[in-house]
Amino acid sequence: MTERLLRWAVAALALIGAGIAGYLTYTHFKGSPPVCLTSGCEVVQNSRWSKLFGIPVALLGLLTYLSIIASTLIRHPLAKQAGAMLALVALGFNAYLLYIQEHEIGRYCTWCISNEIVSLILAPVAVAWLLSSGDSNQRAAS
């Protein structure tokens, strides 16, 4: 798989993640419950776990995904490394949030689960992108 294709895949997955996180951020600040397949979204969204030191976790997720998208637009190995690291951080923290839904809140938010699936796919793709040879690596080597 070419570096270019992997870069596009990372950007596309991060865009989906940003869309989900953006929607959850929007509903958080609007104070309305997200459209949800179960009642869990509202419960999770209003739980004390939905904020980290007063900052909505959804907003942190949105910023993370936007940073990953930005990393795919900047043709520099450092940007690639930062993008891959953020994708791994997103995977790890989403796994933790899944644990919180299961063990602390006792409800599942379908939007959050979707986001967790996105990060589960995004992380290995981002690592593959990092390992791939491409124009950004070549530029750094030159």
Binding site: P33, N46, L52, Q81, A84, V89, F93
Partner: protein
């Protein structure tokens, strides 16, 4: 060789990511998890944050001149009342109470005690109403819901009640004074008033939680919501009445 040279930065990135995730998890646990560790101190900060700057007077939360009034009939032991208090109330406070559009009246009821042969609801209700004499009723009510145990289990022990009172944490709140007032008959008329109001406005089929939305100053019920309905049910009803 080239592969090894590429692997080193990848390992560094994975290691860095692990460190960042651990830091985030620790931060999250420090921010939230510790509040669940003790039944007496749970969520003091988050409740204080939710109610910070919002006027309280006796059983009222919010601006006395707000266009609408939400009357909450709930029992401190009732699980759905607790669910509503934990999940829906914070959004209503943020969107409508804080902005002066809505005031909320707490009309605590004690009827689950009869079902379970306990005195938990009455004990918690007494403390909340006693705290109302110091305009801290809502802090106590929310702490009680946040620390809610299984209904009928007799969880509202003396230690629990004292723990809730101590967890209020406001400088102006005299814990011992509230605990003493909770044992007097001073709070009884308020319990009786809530019961009569529920029977008059909702009827004998009352279940908790039940909510009435009225125009402030009018006793006409504009909307009745039964149960811990989703936030949207409340926002739709409130928005509609605010527009009229």
């Amino acid at each position: 060789m080239r592969r090894d040279s590429r692997l080193a930065p990848v390992l560094a990135i994975v290691g860095g990511a692990i460190v960042l995730v651990v830091a985030l998890v620790v931060a999250s646990q420090l921010n939230n998890g510790s509040k669940k560790s003790s039944s007496s101190t749970i969520a003091t900060d988050s409740i204080a944050e939710m109610l910070s700057g919002v006027p309280q007077k006796g059983i009222e939360l919010g601006n006395s001149n707000a266009k609408l009034t939400l009357v909450e009939f709930s029992d401190p032991q009732c699980p759905y009342c607790g669910e509503w208090a934990r999940n829906t109330l914070p959004s209503l406070v943020q969107k409508y109470v804080r902005t002066g559009k809505l005031r909320i009246e707490y009309r605590g009821l004690d009827f689950l005690d009869q079902n379970f042969g306990t005195t938990d609801s009455e004990r918690m209700l007494r403390l909340a109403l006693a705290a109302g004499f110091q305009n801290q009723l809502w802090n106590v009510v929310e702490l009680e819901f946040e620390n809610q145990g299984a209904e009928g289990s007799g969880y509202a022990t003396d230690a629990f009640i004292r723990g809730i009172a101590e967890a209020v944490g406001a400088k102006s709140f005299d814990t011992n004074k509230a605990l003493a007032a909770a044992k007097t008959n001073a709070v009884v008329p308020m319990i009786n008033t809530a019961q009569k109001l529920a029977e008059t406005k909702v009827g004998k089929s009352l279940s908790t939680p039940t909510f009435l939305i009225e125009r402030t100053g009018s006793s006409k019920v504009e909307k009745m919501i039964v149960g811990a309905q989703p936030l949207a049910t409340f926002t739709t009803a409130i928005d509609t009445l605010l527009k009229k």
